[in-house]
């Protein structure tokens, strides 16, 4: 009875504190929401990973060829201005190459494509031609996207020339006469093939590749949902550790406010009082995790893993955050030290645990190993594993480590507190 009264008193205090509520619920949802807004709306079935179109200025210096009856430069410009690629590039054209480069330097354009004067003549002769793409150095992936788009089109021209050259060498090798019509015929056939590939590639399926998802990864309809789930898991873990420590901090606060010594004078055992504090610590994190899971599903349409996986990851998180919170706070002499320790230590550990780098690609493998030096890294491993199909060995291992470490931290912290208040 005394235990439940103490627990209810502390829970009420925890959930009536606007600052605590903001850190438990508003901050993780706000950060995930901001990142969601940045990369693809607020989740849901229709959300797509989207980035803004790169502003590209094209200076087409290619007058074309009267002999060929077309301008390759104009064909490329028309392709880049086509509605089908307008989500990737926003194209304007200029006559002067220097003015186009100046527009990039001035920040009005993200990139400038200079199509050389010999572009068409190179196509109908045996010469080479180089297009120049100048980009703003602050562009990271936009320049790559523009380059890839141009390369797709220019590869068609290169392929035509290569097909033509190969055919001529085959004819010459067999002593067959090479006439003007041969070039034309090869170009026609290769262009027809390029067109058919373009039509084939306009659907969802890649050309010449059969793709399956790795066995330990749940296939998702929408990539943004997978990324969102990982980012939300990272934020939930970070703020759950904060909540665990903040709940344990109430032991010090009550000691400073002299309510704890007064409680010790009542016929309630010290074990009951401290035990209640530690149960509150676990319950607060448990409520936080459940609320965040529900709210993130509703707000960002995140599809978490199976109920069994979520249960294991949640229990593991509650045990480790409560245990670590008690352990961390047991080292403090007063609540005034809490700001630096909670802000500094938890942020550093969260960073090393990989909580802030979910979604960044190409992270060095050493960092992933380093993650597991911290309890945060194990919690992240458990949550990432819980997103896969069913309860796998990775999740079971992470769960066992979290519970084991949590129990150890808890025992050490509780021992220190018991000695302090003996």
């Amino acid at each position: 009875m005394k235990l439940s009264t103490l627990i209810l008193k502390d829970l009420r205090r925890a959930f009536l504190n606007p600052f605590g509520l903001s850190m438990m619920f508003v901050a993780p949802l706000l950060i995930t929401g901001l990142i969601a807004l940045a990369f693809g709306g607020m989740g849901g079935e229709d959300a797509q990973v989207s980035i803004q179109a790169t502003r590209l200025v094209v200076a087409n210096l290619d007058p074309g060829s009267a002999q060929a009856g077309f301008s390759a430069g104009q064909l490329l410009t028309d392709f880049l201005m086509d509605e089908s690629v307008s989500n990737l590039v926003q194209v304007t054209s200029m006559d002067d190459a220097e003015a186009a480069k100046a527009a990039v330097l001035g920040g009005e354009q993200g990139a400038a494509l200079i199509i050389p004067a010999d572009f068409t003549t190179a196509l109908i002769s045996d010469k080479s031609s180089t297009l120049h793409l100048y980009h703003d150095p602050t562009l990271t992936i936009g320049a790559g996207i523009v380059r890839s788009l141009i390369a797709q089109f220019v590869d068609g021209f290169s392929g035509t020339r290569i097909a033509s050259d190969v055919t001529i060498s085959q004819f010459s090798g067999r002593g067959l006469p090479v006439d003007e019509g041969l070039h034309h015929q090869v170009a026609q056939e290769y262009t027809a093939w390029v067109t058919s590939m373009g039509e084939q590639g306009s659907g969802q399926d890649p050309i010449g590749l059969t793709i399956r998802t790795p066995a330990d990864t749940e296939p998702v309809e929408n990539p943004i949902q997978g990324i969102m789930a990982r980012i939300m898991a990272g934020m939930m873990i970070f703020f759950a550790f904060w909540t665990g420590a903040n709940s344990a901090l109430s032991i010090l606060r009550e000691d400073e406010e002299a309510t704890l010594p007064r409680l010790f004078t009542t016929p309630t055992s010290r074990q009951t009082i401290l035990g209640a504090k530690m149960i509150v610590c676990a319950l607060t994190v448990a409520i936080e995790v459940v609320v965040l899971l529900v709210l993130s599903s509703l707000l960002f349409r995140i599809e978490w893993g199976s109920p069994a996986s979520i249960a294991l990851a949640s229990v593991g998180l509650v045990v480790i955050t409560a245990g670590f919170g008690v352990f961390l706070i047991s080292f403090l002499k007063s609540s005034r030290q809490a700001g630096g320790v909670m802000g500094g230590a938890l942020t550093m550990l969260g960073m090393l645990g990989g909580l802030f780098t979910e979604g960044i690609q190409n992270i060095p493998a050493a960092f992933k190993t380093l993650n597991l030096v911290t309890p945060h890294g194990w919690a992240l491993k458990a949550w990432n594993a819980s997103l896969g199909p069913g309860v796998g060995p990775d999740l079971l291992l992470a769960f066992a480590v979290l519970v084991g470490l949590g129990a150890l931290f808890f025992a050490l912290g509780a021992r220190k507190f018991s000695r302090r208040f003996a």
């Binding site: 980009h135 602050t138 380059r147 190969v166 055919t167 890649p206 793709i211 960073m351």
Partner: protein, 410 residues
């Protein structure tokens, strides 16, 4: 003189607090270091292309070889040859070797093309991840080049065949193989190429820097912690008000304007000194070219520090408790950093987000630093960002003064 006294008092009070060392210096340096490595420049010494496993079950098949050659020349992915035991699965290998994907060239892949079919490569990757999407696009480019070579060989041999039929199957196959080999070789140096380069105003002696690694993390973390550092001056003001020190100060011949200006100057000094240390560390420890244009860098630092100190003043006069200061500083840091491009470039976000981002002072602070270290611009390149930061300074300061007066009246 009184303004200076108050400013120095704030400066000493903040510097003497142990938390200052953590929040103003240790954390930003560690964050810069960490994100600098995480966002490391792929152009460094180590091969940082995305690793992709290749299982060749087609032996010495010509098309299989060609695919591996084309993929081997990729600037985006690094092909890692894998051996797969009979009946084994590639999935455990992917996790073990930290591969972003695996391509299996099936038995009979090359033969399929001789027979006029277009066999598929079996690919295992997580297309819901950024790495998976990138690998898929790169594999698609490589496959299309190989298919282009197959088509060139097909067109060529059919045309030769129409004029001079081959003497039997073996000769026809040799002709096809010869044409295909020539086509694949030609793809290593295609006739139409794209030369891509970053455009800067730097001298020929200056080495252009890419927006990766420390060049992204150093100014980003500096802007982030300029906002988060508001925590400390904000706490000083709240503490003064809670202990009635501020009200006692106003009973002295010190004017309200002098009190406010003194605090503002103190906060400015804290913010400026923090940035000065981080700029020096960024330049000499992380190789970020802040000192390429010292006067321009100094101007941006002053503008950011002025903006941050005004925001700190606003935070201090609006918050009632220390907890509120922490909360406001955290929310301010998250919003200004994420939406202002301090964590990731605004270029990779959606258009709406990017547009909103440029309504925030943090985006202009990032622009100012990037115009110097990445675009190589001098004083001319920072005038607009500095002007906008000063405008924000004026707005934040005016609102802070209004709150301060209202607070004193009540």
């Amino acid at each position: 003189m009184r303004v200076l006294d108050i400013a120095l008092k704030d400066l000493l009070q903040i510097i003497r607090d142990r938390k200052s060392a953590i929040f103003l210096l240790a954390m930003p340096v560690v964050f810069t270091l960490f994100f600098g490595f995480v966002l490391a420049d792929p152009g460094g010494d180590a091969d940082q292309r995305i690793p992709v496993g290749v299982v060749n079950q087609d032996g010495t098949g010509l098309v299989a070889d060609a695919f591996q050659t084309v993929l081997g020349a990729s600037e985006v992915v690094r092909a890692v040859p894998l051996e797969l035991a009979e009946g084994g699965s590639v999935d455990p290998l992917m996790a073990k070797q930290n591969l972003a994907g695996v391509v299996i060239i099936p038995t009979g892949y090359s033969q399929g093309f001789y027979e006029g079919r277009q066999p598929d490569l079996e690919t295992v990757l997580d297309s819901s991840s950024m790495n998976g999407t990138t690998v898929q696009n790169e594999l698609q480019t490589a496959v299309l080049r190989v298919l282009g070579a197959v088509e060139a060989a097909q067109i060529s041999t059919e045309m030769v065949e129409s004029r001079q039929p081959a003497q039997g199957e073996a000769e026809a196959r040799t002709a096809w193989e010869d044409a295909f080999t020539r086509a694949v070789a030609a793809w290593s140096n295609p006739p139409f190429q794209i030369q891509s380069e970053a455009l800067t105003t730097m001298d020929a002696n200056d080495e252009p820097q890419a927006a990766t690694g420390f060049v992204q993390s150093s100014p980003g973390i500096m802007v982030q912690f300029a906002v988060f550092g508001l925590l400390l001056p904000g706490t000083v003001l709240v503490d003064e008000r809670q202990k009635r020190v501020l009200h006692r100060l106003l009973t002295t011949p010190t004017s309200r304007a002098a009190v406010l200006a003194g605090h503002w100057l103190g906060f400015f000094l804290v913010s400026f000194l923090q940035m000065a240390v981080l700029v020096v560390i960024g330049q000499f420890a992380f190789g970020v070219g802040y000192l390429r244009e010292p006067a321009a860098t100094l101007s941006v630092m002053v503008a950011v520090a002025l903006m941050a100190s005004s925001l700190g003043l606003l935070l201090g006069v609006t918050a009632k408790k220390e907890e509120q200061v922490i909360l406001y500083a955290l929310i301010g840091m998250f919003v200004l950093s994420a939406m202002g491009g301090a964590w990731f470039p605004l270029e990779i976000t959606g258009k709406t987000f990017s547009t909103i981002g440029h309504f925030l002072p943090s985006a202009w602070a990032m622009d100012g630093f990037q115009n110097i270290v990445l675009r190589g611009q001098g004083f001319g390149g920072i005038l607009l960002p500095v002007g906008i930061l000063l405008a924000y300074t004026a707005v934040f300061f005016a609102v802070a003064v209004w709150f301060f007066r209202r607070d004193l009246r009540s």
